[in-house]
Amino acid sequence: MSAQEPLLRVEDLRVEFPTEDGVVHAVDGVTYQVFNGRTLGIVGESGSGKTVSSLTTLGLTRRQGARVSGRILFEGRDLVTLPEDELRKIRGNEIAMIFQDPLSALHPLYKVGRQLTEAVRAHRDVSKAKARERAVELLGLVGIPEPAHRIDQYPHEFSGGMRQRVMIAMALANEPKLLIADEPTTALDVTVQAQILALMERLQRELGMAIVIITHDMGVVAEMADDIAVMYAGRIVETASAARIFSDPEHPYTWGLLRSIPSLDRPRDEDLVPIPGTPPSLIRRPSGCHFHPRCAYAQPDHSVIDPELRAVPGDSAHFVACLLEPQVRRTLWAQLHAGRMPEEALAAAGLPEATS
C-alpha cells in the first residue's frame, strides 16, 4: 500500500523443530511486513505458529535447536543470520516483547525497580541513579500510581493488571521501534484488559512505535490492529486490512473464527457455527489444503492441491489461500453472515456437501 519501507519484513520464514516423533513444522513459509506506527494483528489458535514466528524474530528459538530459513529484515538487517551478540543489541532495545503471563515473566525475588533498571542499563551506559529515575518515569508513563513508592516492591505485591503494566514499562525502557505483544491480555479480566489495550494505543500514539499483537481474540484485534494476518497450521491463510477481514473475510477458517464465538452484537439466540475437529498435528499435517479436514466447504481435489496465498480480485492488499472460486466464497460468506448454517450456505452456492 505505502511506498514507505517496512520497519520489519518477514520473508518466507520457516521454523522447524526436530523431535523424537518427527519434525515439527511450526512456521511454514510465512511472509508479512510491519510499518512504522502501525499495528499488525496475528490471529490463530494454539499451535498455529503465531508465537514461534515472533520468538524467532528475536532469535529466541535458536537455543531450542530450531532450523530457521527465510529472512527477517529489520531496517535492512537480516535477523536470521545476525550473530547473537549483534542480536542482543536489538533485543529489548529496538524490538521489545511482552508476554502473556506477567507473573512468570517477572523475576519473583527481585524488586520491580531492579528489573526495570537492568533493562535500561543493559543497553545504555547510565548511572544507577539515572536508570532508577528513568524506571520511575516509566512506571508513571504506564499509569502505575505512586511510582516512586511502587518501584521498591516485589512482583507479588502487584495485581495482574499492574504486573502487565510493569512488563510494558520494561519493554518501553529503551523506546523500541517495534513492540511484539504475545497475548498481552489473555490472563486478565475484561475491565483490566480494556485498560491495558487503551494504554498500548496511547503509548503507540505518543511514541510512534509499530506493534505486532498476537492473539486468539477477534475482538482484541478488531480494536487494536490496522492489518490482520490469520494463521493456521504454521501458515498465513488470509491477510488484509482489519476492516476487510471483518467485512469481507475470504477464508473458511476466518469465517469459522468469526461465527463460532458468541458476540454481543449478534442476535442472542443465533446458533453458533463450530469449526469441527481439532487443530492438526504439525508433524503429520493434512495433505493438500491443511484446513480441508475441518472445512465444511472442502471439495474432493482440496485434499490434493496445496493452495497458495493469492491476491483477492479487487483488493491488492487482501490475500487468501483457498481453493474455492472467489464468487463461491462471496456467496458462502453472505449466507453465513446472515446467520445461516454451513449446509444452507453450501446449497445457496450450488456446492455439494463437503467430502471430508
Partner: protein
C-alpha cells in the same frame, strides 16, 4: 463430531438411564418455572490466620457475603464477574463442596446446608459439576471408561459390568465421543474431547442440576463452540437445570436465560438475559459490557469509559456499596448506606442508589443487540 447429529440420533440412553437411576418420587414442586435451588443470605468467609503452632484468626476473606439466588427448573442461570468476585465459591457452596459460614441452600425444597453422610450422598447424585480445566479434572491413570463409570461405582449402580460398559458407551456416543475409545486414557484426547468426557461423567447419574464452572475458557477458540453447543443440546435432551459460570460476557449472554453479575462477593445485578444486556442498570454491569472488545473495527473504542483501578481486596472490602471506590457515579451516600437488590422497573434487579440511564449507557459505548438490531452490512 457434530453435536447436531447427536440430537437427531435421539437418546438410546433415555431408557438405560431409567434403569440406572431408580425413579425417585417426584416432589410436589417438580414443575418448570419453580425454583430447584434457593439460596438465602449465603455467606462464606475464609479465615486468615497468623502463627504456626497457635493459629490466631486475624481477618477473613469475604468470598461470598450475603447472596440470595434462585435457580428455576429447566433454566440456565449465568453467573458473571471478574476474578475473585465469588462466583466459583457460590457454585461450590451450592454443590456442598464447601461449608457455608452462614445462610441457607435449599435444593428441591430440602434444606441441604448442613446435610451429612447418606443424606448428602443422595443429594450429590442430583447435582453434578463440570470444571474449567479438562487437564487437571480427569485422573490421568484411569481409562475414560472408568472415569465416566465412576459415578455408578460410587453410588453402587449398574453393578453388572457388561451393562455398565454399555451405559458408559451410550453416554460417550451422546456427548460425541467414539465409544470405541472406552479403554483410552485422558492424555490421548484433545482439550475439547476431554471436556466432553467431563460432560459425560457429569450426565452419568442424570442429575437435576448441572453446574459448569468456566467450561470453555481453557479451550481453543475453534473448540469452544463445539462444547457450548454440546451443553445446550444436553440441556434440551435431558431437561437439565444449568448454572453457567464464566467471565466472558458474550458466552454467558449466548447460553443463559437469566444472568447474575457478582462483584466482591455480592450480586450487584440480576435479571433476564435480554434486559440485562440491553439496559444494564448497575454501573458495574455497564462497565463490564463496555469493556468487552467488539469484533467490529469500525466501532470507535475511544468513547468507552474505562474503570479505573483494580478490584479491592475481599479481605477488607469497601463499606456500604462495594463498588463505590471505582464507580463513576458514586456519591457520598454510596459509602454509608448499602443499596439493596431491588427491581429497577426495566427487567432487572440492581443494587444501586443511582442506576444508569439510557443516555449514560450510550455515552459509555455499550453496544447491545437492541441498539444495533441489524448486523452491519457486508
Amino acid at each position: 463430531m457434530s453435536t447436531r447429529a447427536d440430537e437427531e440420533e435421539g437418546s438410546p440412553l433415555g431408557e438405560e438411564r431409567g434403569r440406572a437411576t431408580p425413579a425417585a418420587p417426584l416432589p410436589p414442586s417438580a414443575r418448570t418455572g419453580e425454583p430447584l435451588v434457593e439460596v438465602r443470605d449465603l455467606v462464606k468467609h475464609f479465615p486468615i490466620t497468623k502463627g504456626i503452632l497457635f493459629q490466631r484468626k486475624v481477618g477473613a476473606v469475604q468470598a461470598v457475603d450475603g447472596v440470595d439466588l434462585e435457580v428455576k427448573r429447566g433454566e440456565t442461570l449465568g453467573i458473571v464477574g471478574e476474578t475473585g468476585c465469588g462466583k466459583s465459591t457460590t457454585a461450590r457452596l451450592i454443590m456442598r463442596l464447601l461449608e457455608a459460614t452462614s445462610g441457607e441452600v435449599r435444593f428441591d425444597g430440602q434444606d441441604i446446608t448442613h446435610l451429612k453422610g447418606p443424606g448428602l450422598k443422595a443429594i450429590r447424585r442430583e447435582m453434578q459439576m463440570i470444571f474449567q480445566d479438562p487437564y487437571s479434572s480427569l485422573n490421568p491413570r484411569k481409562t475414560v471408561g472408568s472415569i465416566i463409570g465412576e459415578p455408578f461405582a460410587i453410588h453402587g449402580l449398574e453393578r453388572d459390568r457388561a451393562q455398565r460398559k454399555r451405559t458408559v458407551q451410550a453416554l460417550m456416543d451422546t456427548v460425541g465421543l467414539n465409544p470405541e475409545h472406552y479403554n483410552r486414557y485422558p492424555h490421548e484426547f484433545s482439550g475439547g474431547q476431554r471436556q466432553r468426557i467431563g460432560v459425560a461423567r457429569a450426565l452419568a447419574l442424570k442429575p437435576k442440576l448441572l453446574i459448569a464452572d468456566e467450561p470453555v475458557s481453557a479451550l481453543d477458540v475453534s473448540i469452544q463452540a463445539q462444547v457450548l453447543n454440546l451443553l445446550r443440546d444436553m440441556q434440551r435432551q435431558f431437561g437439565l437445570t444449568l448454572v453457567f459460570i464464566a467471565h466472558d460476557l458474550s458466552v454467558v449472554r449466548h447460553m443463559c436465560d437469566r444472568v447474575a453479575v457478582m462483584y466482591l462477593g455480592k450480586i450487584v445485578e440480576i435479571g433476564g438475559g435480554d434486559p440485562l444486556y440491553d439496559f444494564p442498570r448497575h454501573p458495574y454491569t455497564g462497565a463490564l459490557l463496555s469493556a468487552v472488545p467488539v469484533a467490529d473495527p469500525s466501532a470507535s473504542p475511544s468513547e468507552r469509559r474505562l474503570l479505573s483501578g483494580d478490584v479491592p481486596s475481599p479481605a477488607s472490602p469497601p463499606s456500604a456499596c462495594r463498588f463505590h471506590t471505582r464507580c463513576p457515579k458514586a456519591k457520598e451516600r454510596c459509602s454509608i448506606d448499602e443499596p439493596l437488590l431491588e427491581d429497577k422497573g426495566t427487567g432487572t434487579d440492581a443494587a444501586c442508589h443511582y442506576p444508569l440511564t439510557r443516555e449514560e449507557l450510550v455515552a459509555m459505548g455499550v453496544r447491545s443487540s437492541a441498539m444495533h438490531a441489524t448486523p452491519k452490512d457486508g
